[in-house]
């Protein structure tokens, strides 16, 4: 039986501490979810000292730290608790990380936008400092010594003068009786005393992953659960006209079919609709589904043909759009004559294709839903299920197992809503498993974009005017049927924030209608904007007859803070203040200079078919410069022997995880540059599995990616996404250096690199 009692509200211990609403809210995976975990299931909320929502200290000395952000491979589940453990002076080996359920009391749990560390570094430090403060105070009172004379070492409070020492576990009960200190009374460790921050730590789940014990969303099981495979309308907004109700039931293990209504626009995170086959196991559900023989009313988006649509986007990009940033007068500068250069770029739709397909298990009973979802956003799971089932948000409990990748797809919990709807209809817990084909054909796609660039060059080859236009269907279309124009949030990503030192500079955008679901994908609009801007910078360097790297530094100009609000008043800076996170060209320069040195740019000696390319890009408040080396053989096959990436992400909590993220970003960038392309015919997506939507394999990946992390005391910024944007332009600039062939359309598989 499913023990819902374990997840009820009673596990909130409220009001035990002083006002200030530091309430413990820790909840657990019920024991019966994974039988093997039953013995190890602990209860942080029963630990004796729990001064904040993020931490509890038990009398045996076990420190429970809550990971409230989803773990999809970026190590946030390890790195944030590490910050807390460091400030608490806790022994990491005595820390148990507990994954939070969805609850607004944790603040944002939407694990996207590369901001877990940026937003929660300070709250985690404070939580650790509070607990440490209370343990010290408890010890000082017991010993009758001044607090100021007490200090901590790993997991113990010490009074040096008397040689007294007490473990955190011994002190927990006394500390729990103390009031929570005021924030201004907290003392933080100096960076020189940090044990974990900046030192690097492997994932809390490393051994479980390597032994197959780690539990992902795909692995959720509860007693009595059934499995569902869902046939979705092939065209967005399509409706089911008819299907064969009997044939699927002939498959052994199939129990029933259930219709899911097509959403009412806007689609938001609602299910697409369609018909589900419910069975005793995943295979029977998938097999039964093949016998559905559905007939669809495809609806308005059946007009979408991506080849034609591409031409329309490109046509629009050749016309003036709405200025999102303007300084000087580019059009007047172009009219003055002199050397001008123009180019057009294009990046198609992309799919996320995380290794674990969308999956969720939901159990509806008595007006409440318990759901185990592979989700980046458990609070959105609560919201969409609440809306679709007409129950309060608080009646939805969302557990978050490990995610087998996310890349932004799993911030949109349509599949979790499907599971809840089906569980209610069939009266059993239901696990919805998307096939790979479902994943590729029914994604929230990275948008498709066309860019037009024009520059007027001075005698020294540097631009006196730079015009850039982008045209793409906006992510806003997912939330508003009338939305076509790009949002400021999309335009900030590599467009309005261009750091080049050019007197006449204009960034324009024109809207475009969306015909598929559009969503954010790892680094989002930075992908196509950086591809166009950094490729065009290289084109300008070539037109000027100058070295690409030297020219890029000249384009960036002298170290300065870009006065961005003057020319782009709507610029949102990823939600960070411009005081804490200015656009600082000294940092662009530093990463370029670092990668130049490390990659051996100036001393490079390249043979036939070999090239090096560079790109620099700031995204998610992190500065990255990447140099890619390529070899292109006589058949036009590309090999990437080496990548060098320099990263300035401000204070880096976990350099080891950061290196991994940037190594991975080079592979992710390789995938989108080499193969990434989603197309549609009559509204239906053409690709379906890794045969038609290839992603990079080992033999196609960069052989070696070297990551250099700049030591910095600047406020922490993102590391999950910023490695992606500079990769494709650096690669394509390298291909130009190797072959003379300029790549203006991705993917590379659409381009012939040899005659």
């Amino acid at each position: 039986m499913n023990t819902l009692t374990n997840v009820s509200r009673r596990s909130f211990l409220e009001g035990i501490l002083s006002a200030g609403a530091l309430v413990l809210c820790v909840r657990f995976v019920p024991e019966n979810l994974w039988a093997s975990d039953a013995a190890s299931a602990s209860r942080a909320d029963q630990s004796v000292l729990h001064p904040s929502v993020y931490v509890g200290v038990d009398t045996d000395g076990t420190v429970y730290i809550i990971a409230h952000r989803s773990e999809m491979g970026t190590t946030s589940r390890t790195s944030l608790p590490l910050v807390l453990a460091d400030e608490l002076d806790a022994d990491w080996s005595r820390v148990k990380v507990q994954q939070a359920i969805g609850d607004p009391r944790y603040g944002s749990q939407d694990t996207d936008g590369s901001h877990s560390i940026r937003e929660f570094y300070q709250p985690m430090r404070e939580a650790g400092a509070i607990a440490r403060f209370m343990l010290i105070r408890a010890a000082a009172r017991q010993w009758g010594v001044p607090e100021a004379e007490c200090t901590t070492d790993v997991h113990v409070v010490i009074h040096k003068a008397t040689g007294k020492k007490a473990g955190y576990g011994e002190l927990a009960a006394a500390a729990a009786k103390l009031p929570v200190p005021k924030k201004e009374d907290l003392k933080f460790k100096p960076p020189s005393a940090w044990r974990y921050v900046g030192k690097g730590q492997t994932s809390y789940d490393l051994e479980d992953i390597c032994t197959g014990k780690a539990k992902f969303g795909m692995d959720a099981r509860i007693d009595g659960m059934l499995y569902a495979s869902i046939e979705h309308p092939p065209v967005l907004g399509g409706k089911l006209k008819s299907f064969d109700e009997k044939a699927p039931l002939q498959v052994k293990g199939v129990r029933q079919t259930v219709i899911i209504d097509t959403f009412t626009p806007p689609h938001h995170f609602q299910p697409l609709g369609g018909v589900a086959v419910i069975a005793d196991n995943t295979w029977s559900a998938m097999k039964g589904r093949k016998k559905l023989n559905p007939v669809w009313d495809n609806g308005a988006h059946a007009v979408y043909n991506s080849d034609q649509y591409k031409k329309e986007l490109q046509q629009t990009a050749r016309q003036p759009g709405k200025a999102a940033r303007n300084q000087g007068d580019v059009y007047a500068a172009f009219n003055q004559g002199g050397k001008t250069i123009e180019a057009e770029y294009y990046v198609p739709h992309l799919a996320h294709a995380s290794m674990e397909t969308p999956v969720a298990l939901a159990d509806y009973r008595d007006g409440k839903v318990t759901v185990w979802a592979s989700t980046q956003n458990p609070q959105a799971v609560q919201e969409v299920i609440s809306q679709k089932l007409g129950i309060p948000k608080e009646a939805v409990t969302c557990y978050v197992p490990l995610l087998g990748g996310g890349f932004g797809r799993k911030s949109k919990p349509d599949y979790a809503a499907e599971a809840a709807i089906l569980s209610k209809k069939v009266g059993h817990p239901v696990k919805v498993v998307w096939s790979r084909e479902d994943d590729i054909r029914f994604d929230y796609y990275h948008t498709v974009s066309a860019m037009y660039m024009k520059a007027a060059l001075r005698a020294d080859g540097l631009p006196k005017a730079w015009l850039q236009r982008s045209v793409f269907p906006s992510i806003d279309s997912t939330f508003d049927v009338n939305a076509t124009a790009a949002s400021a949030g999309e335009l900030q990503q590599g467009w309005t924030d261009l750091p080049f030192n050019i007197p006449n500079l204009r960034a324009e955008n024109s809207g475009a209608p969306a015909h598929v679901r559009i969503g954010w994908l790892r680094s989002v609009a930075n992908i196509y904007h950086a591809f166009a801007a950094q490729s065009f910078a290289d084109e300008c360097a070539h037109a000027a007859g100058r070295d690409s790297l030297e020219y890029l530094l000249a384009l960036i100009g002298p170290p300065r803070v870009v006065d961005i609000k003057k020319s782009a008043p709507d610029y949102p800076n990823y939600g960070g203040s411009l005081e804490a996170y200015p656009i600082d060209t000294a940092r662009h320069r530093r990463v370029i200079e670092l990668v130049a040195e490390k990659s051996g740019w100036e001393k490079r000696k390249l043979g036939k078919g070999q090239g090096m390319g560079i790109a620099v890009h700031r995204s998610f408040l992190t500065y990255v410069a990447t140099v890619v080396q390529v070899e292109v053989n006589s058949q036009g096959e590309v090999r990437i022997p080496r990548v060098d990436t320099a990263v300035d992400a401000g204070l880096v909590v976990n350099p080891e995880a950061t290196r991994s993220q940037f190594e991975g970003a080079a592979v992710f960038g390789t995938s989108l540059a080499r193969f990434g392309e989603i197309t549609a015919t009559n509204g239906a997506v053409d690709q379906s599995n890794f045969d038609t939507y290839p992603v990079t394999r080992m033999n196609e990946a960069p052989y070696k990616t070297n990551v250099y992390v700049v030591e910095s005391s600047a406020p922490p910024a993102g590391v999950g996404e910023p490695g992606v944007p500079p990769f494709a332009p650096a690669l394509c600039n390298a291909i130009f250096a190797a072959t003379g062939k300029r790549i203006r359309e991705l993917p590379l598989s659409r381009n012939k690199l040899v005659a």
């Binding site: 994932s203 097999k287 290794m355 991994s660 599995n689």
Partner: protein, 151 residues
């Protein structure tokens, strides 16, 4: 009735003979370490050992697995961590970790065949296993480290 040995335990299966071994392992036996990734032997997430050889369990039907000995990731560390698992941890290979059971099963099979694999050997055998997080260079390093340990 299909007879099959899984991680040393003899089992009988009376379900659909065309059910892939993957779903038998995951849904029937609750051995969820073996992952679903594509269903078409394109990604390798479902890799297990059948009579000592790496196979894609998503296209291996129960019928074709009848009478065979299957070994999954759950059994690899039954008597302590395997050298490949150790080197995977030392090199800190995983990011999300979802594909890593399959990668490790494939790597063990490779090293059983070729205790000192070259880069080309590693490419040939491991390129069937996709890692969307992009941990390939660490996978390569971990295989080489494991090869050293075995020497």
């Amino acid at each position: 009735m299909i007879q099959i040995k899984v991680n040393g335990v003899q089992r009988s299966f009376d379900g659909e003979p065309d059910m892939p071994l993957l779903w038998y392992l995951r849904d029937v036996l609750a051995l969820t370490g073996t992952k679903f990734g594509c269903g078409m032997a394109l990604c390798g997430a479902c890799t297990v050992h059948k009579n000592g050889k790496a196979v894609r369990s998503c296209i291996t039907t129960m019928q074709s697995a009848a009478g065979s000995e299957i070994r999954t990731i759950e059994d690899i560390a039954a008597n302590g961590l395997h050298p490949v698992q150790k080197s995977w941890m030392e090199v800190n290979v995983p990011q999300c970790g979802y594909c890593q059971s399959g990668q490790i099963m494939q790597a063990i099979a490779l090293l059983n065949q070729k205790p000192k694999p070259t880069d080309d050997d590693i490419d040939d055998v491991m390129s069937g296993n996709i890692c969307r997080c992009g941990t390939y260079q660490r996978i390569r390093a971990a295989i080489k480290a494991a090869a050293g340990e075995r020497a």
